[in-house]
Structures are given as structure tokens and as C-alpha cells.
Amino acid sequence: MGNKQTIFTAEQLDAYQDCTFFTRKEILRLFHRYRDLAPQLVPLDYTSKPDVKLPYELITSMPELKDNPFRQRIAEVFSEDGEGNMTLDDFLDMFSVLSEMAPRDLKAYYAFKIYDFNDDDYICKSDLEKTLTRLTRNELTPEEVRLVCEKVMDEADLDNDGRLSLEDFQHMIARAPDFLSTFHIRI
């Protein structure tokens, strides 16, 4: 417990607690997780708010993530600079969004962002196609992907503008009640 004070100041911890859905204990646990990713980069003393970023390459090159189709996208969405370099704040944010305490709308928003590959605040066909090709690991032909995308779009696109807005997305997710209830991670 003595350790705690040397990593964060009390104010920092309070701030983190306010900004996330975590308790102090969990914040510290997450910090250690974060540090485990790159022990040589992350200092043990965060009181002086060092500007430490985990480089994008480090995250995407993790062996566990080798097969994951969304590794880059997650890093990009949750990092503040949008390029996938993650600070501790980003890291905490990410888990905060995925914690059970986070409201559904927040989760839906981030899920939406992950799908929105071109960051135009709409999921358009190209976004869906990207998602789909990643999910199916290029097993579908472009034509099949296009067909499926059309169908998906058709199902969810309420205002018929050919793209999914956040509202469309939220509505679609609300229709399936236990959809976001599984969008949790326990740390």
C-alpha cells in the first residue's frame, strides 16, 4: 500500500476516479497492467505526469493480437492522438468504457467509433465492408461482402440515407436487449 503514494498523488487518484468507473484499487491494478506492456518505457512514478506513450507498433505487434482483426482500430479509437499511441489515460479510458459500470450509451458510442473507420461520424458502406472483410478473414468474395453490407445497411438504416448515424446504431443495438450487456471486460 505504501507503493500507492509513490505512483500517483492523491489528487491524481481522485481525478482518475472521477473520470473513470474504477476504484483506486482497480486503477492501480490497471496501471500495473499498463506498465507490464512496456516496463522499460513506463516509469513507476507518475506523480510528475510524465508524457509516456505506448507506441502503436508495440500494441499491434503483440503476439496475442496477431490474429485479431480489430487490433489497429481499437488502438486508434482509444488513443487520444488517433494514431494508436496510448497513454495511461487512454488505457484507463478504454477499460472504463468496457467496465460494467459504464452506461450503455457510452459503450454504444465507442462501438460505433470502432466501426467508423474513416472517422466521419457515420458508418458508411465502406466502413461496413472493411469490418466485414476483417471479420471473415477475406473468405467472402468482394461481391458477397457487398451483398451482406447492403443487407446490414438495410436492416439498420432508418432514415434511408445510405449510411448509419449514431442514432441508427443505437437504435439497432437497443433492439437486441442483451447486446451491450456482454460488452464488458472484467479486469
Binding site: 490497471l30 480489430f70 462501438a111 466501426y115 471479420l135 468474395t141 458477397e144 451482406v148 471486460i185
Partner: protein, 982 residues
């Protein structure tokens, strides 16, 4: 042992039933086989006679009462007498004479009684469901138990003895497996594995707690002197009793919960628990049974350790047995391509074998079967044909339903037997209370622990439901019957108590659970249609979560699932699935398929009456006529032109002799109607052949189409002849477009009428076929399925008009809201689209079954020559003439000009390679149809013999055509435009 008095009446009514049943019962049911073979075995052993085994076999197999007697007495007597006990023996002393009819009850009474019981149970089921009011209030299981009580009462009154009761051996070997198989095979695996931790906790810890607590508490009551002195039982006896009474019963749970429709999570937890606790129950039961037999004072510490060890062996061993058999089963079905008809048999056999193997090795048989069904399903479903899938599904459901019915009925009947139970109010009462209380306490305690780990915590209402849903059933009863009276002295008391507990839980709790669910407002399962979005996002979320877990270095559930899926995809599926099936395995695509098929089915459902009426009164449907005018004919024209592409080239390839031969052959064959009954003689044990009716319908269609096409072609060729192939493109184009405009008014009405003749026939046929997939031969099934998945490549060659036709009708029937089907379907956009484009999209919508019919009709279309027309049309298409556009009234044509990303011929080659074997089967079929696809030659003035001759080789040599097509297309500007769109 039996009461012919009682059954004589029934016997008279159903005297033929037995024979039918013996012959008809699916071979997968081992009970039948064993029961049939048993008498044979006896006969072989004990028979001193030299009667040929063949005769004996025959006599047994037919099972007909009179059949044995009808044969010569010399053979009959030695054959029957050894198998038939004393009843028949006195006949041997009588002088041998010929009997016209011989009452041979002993001969087939076993299977006969089984059949009668099944029939009674099934009839009862029908009766219950006659009144929907009763079954909505009272669960079926309760009604069946009541019926059993009634029947048992009648039997008891009639004979003063109890004849029938639930025999543990029969229960465990024949009645339980179908239910477990059904539940294991159709278990939602994703849901199951999502909740596996919770389920295991309840199954293992919960059952342990329940049994030990119940046993100990009952023992405490006994010690306190509240129980009758005559209940002679020690601690071990009570623990034994506790172990058998505490297990939640899968049969009862399933019967009650299926009618209640609680939400899936709750259901899977209770039901999964009831399945998985089998291992615990088996071990506890065996351990305590042994301890009781040894005497509690002789039990040493080692024995406890052995008991714990045996738990792991039994549960893990059972699981491993199940997995091994699942693997074998999946692997086997990979190779059943040539013997489709036994596919369902394999599913039943191997799963049943896993059960029996586990039983033999005294492992947990329920676990083995559950896991076998659960794990093999994915691969088996991918491998076997659609028809086999349906068969498996229905047979499984039927058997499970029958088994369940019989179990509950026999439970009722068994309870009547007063001789085997002794009532002790204190024991019964306390057991009831303890069973209920400890269940509730156990659930609450475990949920409290589990909720700290579960993502979606179980709330109070769930807990109430889980405690209340802890039903006891036939397993407990069978186990208590199995107890050895000489060792367990209080057996009679235990039997009485078990029956009471079972009845109480099934009747009382089963009756009240529905109102309770309503009153507590338990989340019901909502039966919403699966959407692509859900499927897509679920998978995306899985990956995202796995990624985040990985980033955190936290190897949680998502991480392992991701790893498993990866492994499955990379190795297991490759090994266990057919290549053709593997390709389309992707679930997203699957869902897409299902949605499309559903759309098509609903379309056919809606359109069924329209079509049939159209068949009757064609001219009175102007809207339809005009519709087909715009789309069908246009598409046909384009199809013709599309095929012409290659014909030009092939022109130079074939030798004259070949050409002549084939042309002659086809002229001959094509102009003769096939004899009507021709296919009736085709009987195959291995394939279900298509209805002759279908064949003949098709023949009619094809003839109609051919006539139509000929008239069509003749108009075309007159056009063609007026032009030269070598003409300048521009002028040709001009000419052609004007030509089209001029041609339309004359040519169309006539054509359309003929189309109207054919179309309705096809469509109604499809609607009939739709659900029970047309799988005339394995080729079509595989072909159909793979075809859909491969989509882009083959379409051009196979599916064209099917799509166009299937599509044609729907605009009238679809709801006004823009469904995706509407968006995708070609008529929405532009009928003038390239043929390939249209077809590739729409064939996916047309159910697979339609393919066959269409393949045939298409091939007749494909033979449509007129090469230059195609070129002209192609050109015309590229520069869509305004006149034609207007005529179609489809401005969307401009929105999708020449968009043809599906025109991927190169892929065709790989596809062809991949399914070369399938192709061979296809070729056979094609050849069979060939006569039907020989339209022209005579009526046509003859564009050129060269092109006409060239047509035939094309059909014989698919591969050549493919490659030629490929060449042509890669060279053509057509392809170029498609490429840019890509």
C-alpha cells in the same frame, strides 16, 4: 406375465400394426434391433433342428402371425417351438396337421407391446392437444402422469397385479438417450459455453451440497426420533437417498421449462445443470451404494479418496468419450457423399454408441452424449445434406418426444404399484421440505458467489426461478428402483418418498411455475428474428473484447474463445468439413443466406395462391403479363446473348462428325416426348429420386420454353441475317437498337403468353419443394449449397433465368417498405443490367431447390445461338439507347450502368477444380436432360450450320466452355468495364 385378456381387443384392432412397425422403425433404434434379434439368438442356441437359418430369420423378421403357420408344418414346428415357451409346446404332442390360422402371440409380443404403448402414449398426446385450454394451464408432463396413474389403475383392477412399470434398464438404455441426444444436439452451444462456469458450479457444487445436506438432515431427523422406527436406515443409507433425490432431472426440467419460455440464460443454466449433474449423481450414487453394501463401519479413508478420484474419472472420462465420438462422427459424415441416405443413421448411431460406450465403461453416459451432440453438430450440419439435416432434426424430436411421453406415463403407472412402497409421512414430508429448502439455500449461496464473477449477474427473480425449477424426475425414480432391497433395508420407504417427491415437483411445481413466471415478471425469451447486424456486431464485439483483453494481458474468457475459434477455423474445420462445406461455413454469410431464403419463402407463401390462380386463368392477369414482358423477355434475350459469346469461338473447334452425331441425336431425342412413366422404375436404395411428377412437369416446361425460344430465335435470326458479323460496330449498334424497338410490339405478346404457361408451373412446384429440399441426388444438394456460396463465378453459367424468374414476380408481393431484397433485386434497379449481374444477385435469393429445375431450363436457353445478336446487344447495352430505357421505365439503369463486379470468370476455374467430383455427377445429370435441350435446327431457316453445330459441343464439354468463356471475356471490353467497377 402378460395379460392377453386385456390386450386381445387391442390386438384385433392393430394386428397389422406390429408388422408395419417392425419393418418401418428406423434402424437406428437399437432397442428394436436387439428385441428382434433376441428371439433369434435364443432360437439358434436352443434349436436342435436343422431348419435353415434363412427361414428362421424370415419368420422372425416378418413378425406376421400367420406367416409362420402358412408355411409347411415341417418347417414351422421346429422353428417356432424353441422360441415359444410352454404355451405352444403342447401342440407338438398333437398330431401334426396344417393350421390355417395360428395364434402366435408369444412370437412377437415383445415388440408388439412396445408398439402398443408408444401408440397409446402418442394418442394421449394428441388427445391432450385437442383442447388447447388444458395444455396451456397444465403441463403435458402432469397430464401424462395422470394418464399413467389411470392406466395403471385399470391394469391393476383388471389383473390384480401390476404388469408394467418403469424398468430402470429400459429407462437408461432406451428412453433416456433420445432425450439427452435431442437436448445435446440442439443445445445452443454459444449460450452453453458462455455460461459454462455457472452451469458447472450448480451442477457440481450444487448437487454435492443438495445431496449431502438432504442426507444429513434426514439422518438428523431420524436420530431425533421423528421418523417411524421401521425406517431402518443409517447415515450411509440417507446419504445414498440424498444423492439420488437431489439431482435435478433433465427430462422433467425440459418438459416444464420448454412450455414456460423463460429467457435463454435462465433456461440454459437450469437445463445445463440438470444435464451435467449426471456425473455427480452417478458417482455419489455409486460411492454411497458401495459404502452401504460394505457397511459404513468398514469404510476407510482410502475409499473416500477413491470416491473423489472416481468423480473426476467419471466426468472427464464421459466428456472425453463424447468428444472422441463427436470427432469420429464429424469425420465420418465428411465422406458420406455417395451414400446420402444413411447420413442420419450415422448421427444417431454414433451418438448412441457414445452413450453406450460410456455406460459400459461406467462413465457418465449423459455427459458423453451431451458433449458428443454438442460438439459434432457444427461439423455434421455442414457436411450432411439439407434433407438429411431435416431428417435428423425430425427423427430426433420425434424420438425424444415419444421417450418423454413414455417416461412420464410409466412414472404414473409405476406409482400404482403399492407392493413396492411403504409410506412414512415423516420421511416424505421432511424430504419434501428439505429438498425444496436446500435447493433454495444452495442456489442463493452459489449465486452470491457467482455474481462476483458473472458479467450479467443473476437477480433475485432468476434465483427464485432456479430454486423453483429444480424438478426431480424419472432419473431419481429409476435409481431408487435399482437399489438392492437386501442391502438397503429402507428401500420401500425410499421408493415411496421418491415417487412423492417426483410427483410433487412435476405436478405441483410444474403447474405453478407458469403463473409464477407471470407473477414475478420473469424475463421471457423474445423470439426476434436474427438479423445480420446482430450477427455481425456480435462477432465484432467478440474480437474487440478479445483484443482488449489481450492488450491488458488478461487471459480471460474472450481470449480463450478467440483462440479456440482460431484453432477451429485453421485445423478442426479443415479436417472435419467437406471442402465445399468449409467454404460456406462463414456464419455471417450463413445468416445472410438464411435471411434470403426466408424472404424467398415468405414470398412464395404469399405468392402461392396468386401463382396457382395464375396457372388457371392466365389471360386474366394483365399485370403479370406486362410484367414478364419487361423483365423476363429482356433477360432471356440477354441470356441468349451472353452464351453466344463463346459459341462463336467454339465454332472452329469441333470436328464435323462429332457435330453431326450430336445434332442427330438431339434432333431425335429432343422431338420425342419421354414416355410418361419412365422414371417410376428407377428405384435406388441410396438416393431418393425426384418425383416423376416433377420430372414430367419439367419436361413440359422445357418443351414450352423450347417452343417459345424457337419463335423467339427465329425473329432474332431474321434480324441477324440482315446484318453482317463484320459490319462496322457503330452501324450495327444503330441498327440493332432500332431493331429492338421495332421488334418489341410484334414479338412480345406472343412470347409472354407462352411464358405465362411455364412460369406458374415452375413456381408452384418450387413452393412445394421449398421446405423439403429437393435432393434428388447428392449432386444437387451439394451443388445447390456450394453454388450459393460461390455465387459470383458460376452464376453466369447456371443460374440465370432462375433468378430472373424467381425475381420477376415479387414486386407485386413484397411490402412497400424498402427491404433489402428489394434493393438488391435487379428489377429494382434495371432489368437491362447485364445478365450475369442479375443472376448472381438473385440466385442467392432463390432457394437452392430451384436450381435444378432451372439448370435444365437454362441449358435449353444456353443453347440459343445467334452470336452476332449478342454482340450487338452487348454494344447496345453499353450505350443504353434511350428508347429502350423509356420502355422499361427504369431510370435506375443509369445509376448502375454496366456495374458488374461479379463477372469473375477466372474464379470459375478454381471453382471447377474444387468441385470436379461434383461436376462429374452433374454431367451425368446434364446428359440425362440433354434430349430436352435440343431445340432448334428444323424450324429455323438456319443462321449457319456452323453455329448450330457448335452449340452441342458446348454442352458436352463444360470445361472447354469455361475456359473459352474466360478467354473471351478477358478479351472483351465488357470485362474491362466490369473490372473498373470492381
Amino acid at each position: 406375465m402378460h395379460s392377453p385378456v386385456l390386450f386381445q381387443l387391442v390386438v384385433l384392432v392393430t394386428s397389422t400394426f406390429c408388422a408395419v412397425w417392425t419393418a418401418d422403425f428406423p434402424g437406428s433404434d437399437a432397442s428394436v434391433i436387439s428385441e428382434i434379434l433376441e428371439p433369434v439368438g435364443i432360437a439358434v442356441e436352443s434349436s436342435p433342428s436343422s431348419a435353415p437359418p434363412l427361414h428362421r430369420q424370415y419368420g422372425v423378421d416378418t413378425g406376421k402371425i400367420a406367416s409362420a403357420a402358412a408355411r409347411a408344418p415341417v418347417i414351422t414346428d421346429p422353428m417356432v417351438s424353441p422360441t415359444s415357451p410352454p404355451g405352444n409346446r403342447h401342440r407338438e404332442t398333437e398330431p401334426v396337421s396344417f393350421e390355417i390360422v395360428k395364434w402366435n402371440w408369444e412370437h412377437a409380443h415383445g415388440p408388439f407391446l412396445v408398439a402398443v404403448w408408444i401408440m397409446v402414449a402418442s394418442l394421449a398426446k394428441i388427445l391432450f392437444h385437442l383442447s388447447s385450454k388444458v395444455t396451456t394451464v397444465v403441463p403435458e408432463s402432469c397430464l401424462l402422469i395422470l394418464l399413467g396413474l389411470g392406466l395403471g389403475g385399470i391394469v391393476l383392477a383388471a389383473t390384480n397385479r401390476t404388469e408394467y412399470q418403469l424398468d430402470p434398464k429400459m429407462f437408461f438404455l432406451f428412453l433416456l438417450p433420445p432425450i439427452v441426444l435431442d437436448s445435446g444436439y440442439f443445445m445452443p452451444s454459444r449460450l452453453f459455453f458462455d455460461n459454462i462456469g455457472t452451469i458447472l458450479m450448480y451442477a457440481v457444487v450444487g448437487t454435492l451440497w443438495n445431496s449431502s445436506a438432504t442426507g444429513l438432515a434426514l439422518w438428523g431427523i431420524k436420530q431425533a426420533g421423528l421418523m417411524d422406527e421401521k425406517v431402518d436406515a443409517g447415515l450411509m443409507d440417507f446419504l445414498l437417498f440424498g444423492s439420488l433425490i437431489s439431482a435435478v432431472d433433465p427430462v422433467a426440467v425440459l418438459a416444464v421449462f420448454e412450455e414456460v419460455h423463460v429467457n435463454e440464460t435462465l433456461f440454459i443454466i437450469v437445463f445445463g445443470e440438470s444435464l451435467l449433474n449426471d456425473a455427480v449423481t452417478v458417482v455419489l450414487y455409486k460411492v454411497f451404494n458401495t459404502f452401504v453394501e460394505m457397511g459404513s463401519d468398514k469404510v476407510r479413508a482410502v475409499d473416500y479418496v477413491k470416491g473423489v478420484a472416481s468423480f473426476f474419472v467419471v466426468s472427464l472420462g464421459g466428456t472425453v468419450v463424447g468428444l472422441v465420438f463427436a470427432f469420429i462422427l464429424a469425420l465420418t459424415t465428411r465422406f458420406t457423399k455417395r451414400a446420402r441416405i444413411i447420413e442420419p443413421l450415422f448421427v444417431f448411431l454414433l451418438v448412441y454408441l457414445s452413450y453406450l460406450t460410456a455406460e459400459i465403461a461406467s462413465l457418465s453416459s449423459i455427459l458423453a452424449m451431451t458433449f458428443c451432440g454438442l460438439c459434432c453438430k457444427k461439423y455434421v450440419e455442414a457436411n450432411i445434406s439439407q434433407k438429411s439435416r431435416t431428417t435428423v432434426k425430425y427423427t430426433m424430436k420425434t424420438m425424444a418426444s415419444i421417450a418423454e411421453t413414455i417416461i412420464f406415463m410409466f412414472l404414473g403407472i409405476s406409482a400404482v404399484d403399492t407392493s413396492m412402497w411403504t409410506w412414512d409421512s415423516a420421511l416424505v414430508l421432511f424430504t419434501l421440505v428439505f429438498v425444496f429448502v436446500f435447493r433454495a439455500v444452495g442456489v442463493i449461496l452459489q449465486t452470491w458467489v457467482l455474481n462476483r464473477f458473472r458479467l450479467c449477474p443473476l437477480d433475485r427473480i432468476d434465483q427464485v426461478m432456479m430454486s423453483y425449477g429444480g424438478l426431480r424426475g424419472a432419473v431419481a425414480f429409476a435409481l431408487v428402483i435399482l437399489l438392492d432391497k437386501s442391502k438397503v433395508k429402507a428401500k420401500d420407504y425410499f421408493v415411496a418418498t421418491t415417487i412423492t417427491v417426483v410427483f410433487f415437483t412435476v405436478m405441483f411445481q410444474g403447474l405453478t411455475i407458469k403463473p409464477l413466471v407471470k407473477w414475478l415478471k420473469v424475463k421471457r425469451s423474445n423470439q426476434h428474428k436474427p438479423t445480420l447486424n446482430e450477427e455481425l456486431h456480435e462477432r465484432a464485439f467478440d474480437h474487440i473484447l478479445a483484443a482488449v483483453e489481450d492488450i491488458a494481458g488478461h487471459h480471460g474468457y474472450h481470449h480463450w474463445r478467440d483462440k479456440w475459434e482460431h484453432f477451429d477455423k485453421k485445423y478442426l474445420s479443415q479436417l472435419l468439413m467437406r471442402k465445399s462445406a468449409y467454404r460456406i461455413k462463414d456464419e455471417i454469410w450463413d445468416v445472410y443466406q438464411k435471411l434470403n431464403i426466408r424472404d424467398a419463402m415468405s414470398f412464395v407463401d404469399q405468392g402461392g395462391h396468386v401463382l396457382s390462380s395464375a396457372k388457371l386463368s392466365l389471360p386474366s392477369l394483365p399485370s403479370r403479363t406486362s410484367f414478364s414482358e419487361t423483365s423476363v423477355t429482356n433477360l432471356l434475350r440477354e441470356n441468349g446473348s451472353g452464351v453466344c459469346l463463346d459459341l462463336q469461338v467454339i465454332d472452329t473447334v469441333r470436328s464435323g462428325k462429332d457435330k453431326e452425331d450430336t445434332v442427330m441425336h438431339h434432333v431425335l431425342a429432343g422431338n420425342l416426348y419421354k414416355p410418361r412413366k419412365r422414371y417410376q422404375a428407377n428405384y435406388s436404395r441410396h438416393f431418393i429420386s425426384a418425383d416423376e411428377q416433377e420430372w414430367q412437369d419439367r419436361e413440359v416446361i422445357q418443351r414450352n420454353m423450347r417452343c417459345r425460344l424457337e419463335s423467339f430465335r427465329s425473329t432474332k435470326h431474321s434480324v441477324y441475317q440482315s446484318k453482317g458479323k463484320s459490319r462496322h460496330k457503330k452501324s450495327q449498334k444503330k441498327h440493332r437498337s432500332s431493331d429492338v424497338n421495332g421488334e418489341v410490339p410484334n414479338g412480345k405478346p406472343k412470347r409472354n403468353i407462352s411464358w405465362q404457361d411455364t412460369v406458374p408451373v415452375v413456381m408452384t412446384m418450387d413452393s412445394e419443394e421449398e421446405e423439403e429440399d429437393n435432393s434428388e441426388a447428392e449432386k444437387e444438394e451439394d451443388e445447390g449449397i456450394t453454388f450459393v456460396a460461390r455465387a459470383a463465378d458460376e452464376v453466369l453459367l447456371e443460374g440465370k433465368p432462375s433468378s430472373t424468374l424467381g425475381v420477376c414476380q415479387s414486386p407485386f408481393l413484397l411490402p412497400p417498405s424498402p427491404t433489402c431484397a428489394e434493393k438488391e433485386l435487379p428489377w429494382k434497379g434495371d432489368q437491362g443490367d447485364l445478365p450475369a449481374c442479375v443472376s448472381s444477385e438473385t440466385t442467392k435469393i432463390v432457394p437452392i431447390d430451384l436450381q435444378q429445375a432451372w439448370n435444365q431450363s437454362i441449358s435449353s436457353l444456353e443453347s440459343l445461338p445467334s452470336p452476332p445478336v449478342s454482340e450487338a446487344q452487348q454494344l447496345q447495352r453499353r450505350t443504353v439507347p434511350p428508347a429502350r430505357l423509356e420502355e422499361r421505365g427504369a431510370p435506375a439503369a443509369l445509376a448502375r450502368p454496366l456495374q458488374d463486379p461479379r463477372f469473375q470468370f477466372p474464379e470459375r476455374a478454381t471453382a471447377a477444380g474444387r468441385r470436379s467430383e461434383e461436376d462429374s455427377a452433374e454431367c451425368i445429370q446434364q446428359q440425362e436432360l440433354r434430349p430436352l435441350m435440343s431445340p432448334d435446327k428444323q424450324p429455323r431457316p438456319g443462321p449457319s450450320t456452323g453455329s448450330a453445330g457448335a452449340r452441342w459441343p458446348v454442352q458436352f464439354n463444360r470445361a472447354a466452355r469455361v475456359s473459352l468463356l474466360k478467354n473471351l471475356v478477358t478479351a472483351s471490353p465488357y470485362k474491362g468495364s466490369g473490372q473498373t467497377d470492381l
